[in-house]
């Protein structure tokens, strides 16, 4: 492991992976005046936050299709609006589609007016939303902060723990009691306490299990719901970036470049190089070595530790924890190139600009999840649908449309393998959609199903999970991704993590990247 003579460049910091977290991290570090190099394996930046052409003339956000988690403060600090971030729609309503009868409109955000639920539910809804918003607000500081360590003597850790306890305490007795009561519950039981309308319960429960390995009856799904609310400040305004998610990454790349960072694409890293147990830089797959005192990896923890670093550089106990991380994705992405505007039964025309849910009841979601437990594709999957071409005609040929849907549940390790069943699973998903939008199938020019396995291969995410590491109590906050690496630092001096596998997790949020940059700058100071 001697210093190589072929080192032809040196930076203060190298960021592996040009996904949104990597770019955010690079931008913040570069802003401090340090030299930063971002190395992206793909031909373009963005990681999974990209827009791709899936049929001639039809473009779509490859994974996440809604922007709602990125903090406003970050957008402002990085001048993303100046760097080209534009929203095609910044207040998208949510509508729950019904198998029969009228859809249920949940309005914009969680304070929207409820149309289509029972009168009792309409009455209960604002109180439910207000309370969840208060609880989520109490958890908000946890989302934004670097998790404290346990069992240290450092005052900063103790202070952070005290501050957390204080924020929860300031909720007041009744809300705090409610938080403690529900935090370990499942979302099924919670919603049963409040509402009658199956369609409403399905829609509200859907957000708790979206992108997780859970069904509504799984323990911990109230936590994932509160997490989602806390991440967007309790307001949950959904937005669609103009040009798809790739445009967000482009703006982030411009922000990072403007701050002084250098970005290299088509530069896959082979390994992280160490010298005397300190980070020395990286070696590219081309054989080129680049030196840096700090390497920040936005890759998932398994790729970073077991792939790029190698378990021989780590202790057995640590490797065991990394190896045991649950990283299998359970969500697929369906992209349809359509000749005509899809016609969902009973849907008001303006609602097509928003988010559509097919999750007719909590039982329907749970039934869809049952298949996943046995590595099967759901026979009646549940969906989050957008038709981005309604807000942004530029992504489809004139007069044509794109349908983008997250499909659950699609197990990473599908029994029988994905390749022989890709068409069958695509048909199941389209058949389900056809029931809600008669005539849809006839207007499909091209269909693409991105399975978790495709997502793993295309975006180099072990398991194809958009949070990198499943979001659950035991992989959350102070123990995310694993104890010993939960403060963005790792056991190897100079190596940091900044990806979705870190607190607070995935979704196009960028907070992990920002927190990691903070830790890097603190370590370098």
């Amino acid at each position: 492991m001697a210093a190589s003579a072929s080192t032809d460049a040196r930076y203060d910091c190298i960021v592996i992976g040009g996904g949104h977290n990597g770019l955010v991290c690079a931008a913040y570090i570069a802003k401090s005046g340090r030299s930063v190099l971002v190395l992206e394996a793909a031909e373009e930046v963005g990681g999974a936050a990209v827009t791709h052409e899936f049929a001639p003339g039809y473009r779509v956000s490859s994974c996440a299709h809604l922007l709602h988690l990125m903090p406003q403060a970050m957008i402002k600090e990085l001048d993303l609006n100046v760097h080209g971030l534009k929203l095609a729609n910044d207040a998208m309503p949510t509508t729950a589609l019904a198998p029969t009868g009228a859809p249920l409109s949940l309005g914009v955000g969680d304070s929207g007016a409820l149309v289509g639920a029972s009168s009792a539910d309409a009455l209960a809804y604002p109180g439910y939303c207000a309370r969840l918003r208060r609880l989520a607000r109490a958890l908000r500081p946890i989302m934004a902060s670097v998790p404290p360590r346990l069992g240290t003597d450092a005052w900063s850790d103790r202070l952070a723990l005290l501050r957390m306890a204080w924020t929860v305490r300031t909720l007041g007795r009744r809300d705090m009691r409610e938080l403690l009561r529900i935090i370990g519950m499942n979302v099924y039981d919670l919603l049963e306490e409040h509402f009658d309308t199956p369609l409403l319960k399905g829609a509200l429960g859907f957000d708790a299990v979206l992108g997780t390995n859970f069904g509504p009856r799984s323990p911990g799904t109230v936590l994932t719901l509160l997490y989602r609310l806390a991440a967007h400040d309790g307001s949950s305004i959904l937005a669609q970036p103009l040009g798809g998610m790739g445009a967000v990454s482009d703006a982030l790349a411009k922000a990072a470049t403007a701050a002084g960072a250098t970005i290299r694409t088509a530069a896959p890293v082979r390994r992280i190089r160490l010298h005397e147990d300190r980070v020395q830089g990286v070696e590219l797959q081309s054989g080129q070595t680049i030196a840096a005192d700090v390497v920040v990896s936005s890759c998932d923890p398994k790729t970073t530790f077991l792939g790029l670093l190698g378990s021989e550089q780590l202790d057995t106990g640590f490797v065991r924890r990394v190896n045991h991380l649950r990283t299998r994705g359970l969500a697929a992405k369906l992209h349809l190139a359509l000749d005509a505007r899809p016609n969902f039964t009973g849907l008001a025309p303006q609602a097509l600009a928003g988010r559509l849910l097919i999750a007719p009841s909590l039982e329907a979601i749970e039934r869809a999840y049952n298949h996943a437990k046995y590595a099967e594709f759901s026979s009646e999957p549940v969906f989050e649908i957008t038709v981005p071409s309604v807000n942004d005609p530029s992504i489809a040929p004139a007069g044509k449309h794109v349908l983008s849907a997250i499909v659950q549940y699609a197990p990473y390790a599908l029994a029988g393998g994905w390749e022989p069943q890709r068409q069958r699973c695509t048909d199941i998903a389209i058949d389900t959609l056809e029931r809600y939008a008669p005539g849809l199938r006839a207007s499909i020019r091209s269909a693409e199903l991105l399975t978790p396995l495709d997502i793993e291969r295309r975006f180099r995410i072990t398991g194809g999970h958009w949070h990198h590491v499943d979001l659950a109590f035991d992989q959350f906050f102070m123990v995310r991704p694993v104890p010993g690496a939960a403060q963005y630092q790792t056991p190897v001096p100079g190596l940091y993590l900044c990806g979705a596998g870190c607190h607070p997790g995935g979704g196009v949020m960028g907070t992990a990247g920002r927190n990691a940059a903070r830790q890097v700058l603190k370590g370098a100071a």
Binding site: L306, G317, V319, R320
Partner: protein, 398 residues
């Protein structure tokens, strides 16, 4: 063996069991790693003096044995243990310890390099789980082979002569920690010049079906060399004289400790000579480096205790008043060969320094009346007994 059979017979028998049973005069058997083994055959004193003056046979089949093989075997073992396995040549044996992430010792044992890519690891405790988790990312195969290999220790000054008499021609050429292969009366025997007595001695490794034949052959050939079987009690006296530590006596495996602060690092166990910080990464390295920088808080040392009463389980104090405890004894015996009252003890800083004086609180049971003695003790060099013959090659023909 099926699980039903295990239920009916909780302790397994070794391939030497019938012979041991026949020669046992006291019928004193104890469990060891799932096997029933002899504690003492006739008398501890006779057996101990045979170790130091003649030759002894000890059944060490229950010692847990793992086969570790593959292109990545050396890299794997180097990451597992604190010593540099890369320096271990083929047909050589090395004593080593391995740690958890916190740098606390999980177990100690011996690594036998059987080939370029094949090793045998002998351990006190079963730990396949740890070994397999350590294999993540390495091209290596690991399997437990305890029941596939019968093993005997031949220890004592006349052990080499006894083995020659038995027909293991060339055994005298084996250097300490060297491995040789021999064929006697159709039995293929692997011999290593290793042992747990600190004396001249060998360990013989064979297939279970050859076990009785080898035992019988040794007993017949070694008669003139004073051969006799021994149990673990006599061995324990010898190992303390040799300064060897024993899991669950001198330390508790870090995987088994429940109280915090009970796990021990190799530096604390006085095994810093086994820790090679220069060889590259190994599990526990970062924690051990930090500990080394911080300085040791305690250390396992040898004690020479006044008087002739073994300081079993004694608390150790900084002065005679016995007010402030500074450590405790982990193993203690009256050493018949050294004629010294010796002990292994864990002492807090700074009392573990060579020559430091502490006081041992010894309880004596005199016909059911307990007496308390405060005995002066000094920290001394280990091993207590290290005869030149353990190293001389070829050994003298005792």
């Amino acid at each position: 063996m099926s699980s039903a059979a295990l239920f009916q017979q909780p302790l397994l028998t070794t391939p030497f069991h019938a012979r041991a049973r026949a020669m046992s005069q006291l019928d004193s058997f104890i469990p060891w790693a799932g096997y029933t083994t002899v504690d003492v055959f006739s008398s501890v004193e006779h057996e101990y003096f045979a170790i130091r003056n003649a030759t002894t046979v000890y059944d060490l089949t229950p010692m847990v044995k793992y086969r570790i093989a593959g292109a990545g075997a050396t890299a794997y073992l180097n990451r597992l243990v604190t010593r540099d396995v890369g320096k271990l040549k083929e047909n050589r044996v090395a004593y080593c310890v391995w740690c958890n992430d916190a740098g606390h010792v999980i177990d100690d044992g011996t690594i036998f390099r059987l080939g370029e890519r094949e090793y045998r690891l002998c351990t006190a405790e079963r730990q396949l789980d740890w070994l397999l988790d350590s294999a993540i990312g390495f091209d290596v195969e690991i399997s437990e082979v305890t029941a596939e290999i019968a093993a005997l220790a031949l220890q004592g000054p006349s052990s080499c002569a006894a083995l020659k008499d038995y027909g293991m021609t060339g055994i005298q050429a084996l250097k300490p920690f060297e491995i040789g292969h021999f064929a006697v009366a159709g039995n293929e025997i692997m011999a290593s010049r290793t042992g747990f007595t600190g004396d001249l001695g060998y360990e013989l490794w064979m297939r279970p079906e050859q076990a009785e034949s080898v035992w019988d052959g040794l007993m017949a050939a070694g008669r003139a060399r004073g051969i006799r079987p021994i149990g673990s009690m006599a061995l324990n006296v010898a190992r303390i004289e040799a300064g060897f530590i024993l899991p669950n006596a001198d330390f508790v495996s870090a995987e088994h400790t429940i109280y915090t602060d009970r796990a021990r690092s190799p530096l604390e166990l006085g095994l810093s000579w086994l820790v090679d910080f220069k060889k590259g990464h190994f599990t526990g390295r970062r924690a051990l480096l930090a500990e080394e920088r911080r300085g040791a808080r305690r250390r396992l040392v040898g004690l020479d205790v006044d008087g002739n009463k073994p300081a079993h389980n004694a608390l150790l104090y900084d002065d005679r008043s016995g007010k402030r405890a500074v450590g405790s004894v982990t193993s203690a015996i009256w050493s018949p060969t050294c004629k010294r009252n010796i002990a292994l003890a864990m002492l807090e800083a700074p009392h573990f320094k060579l020559g430091a004086e502490v006081w041992a609180e010894i309880y004596l049971n005199r016909e059911l009346v307990w007496e308390r003695r405060m005995a002066r003790a000094r920290v001394v060099e280990k091993p207590f007994f290290a005869p030149e013959r353990r190293r001389v090659t070829p050994p003298a023909d005792y």
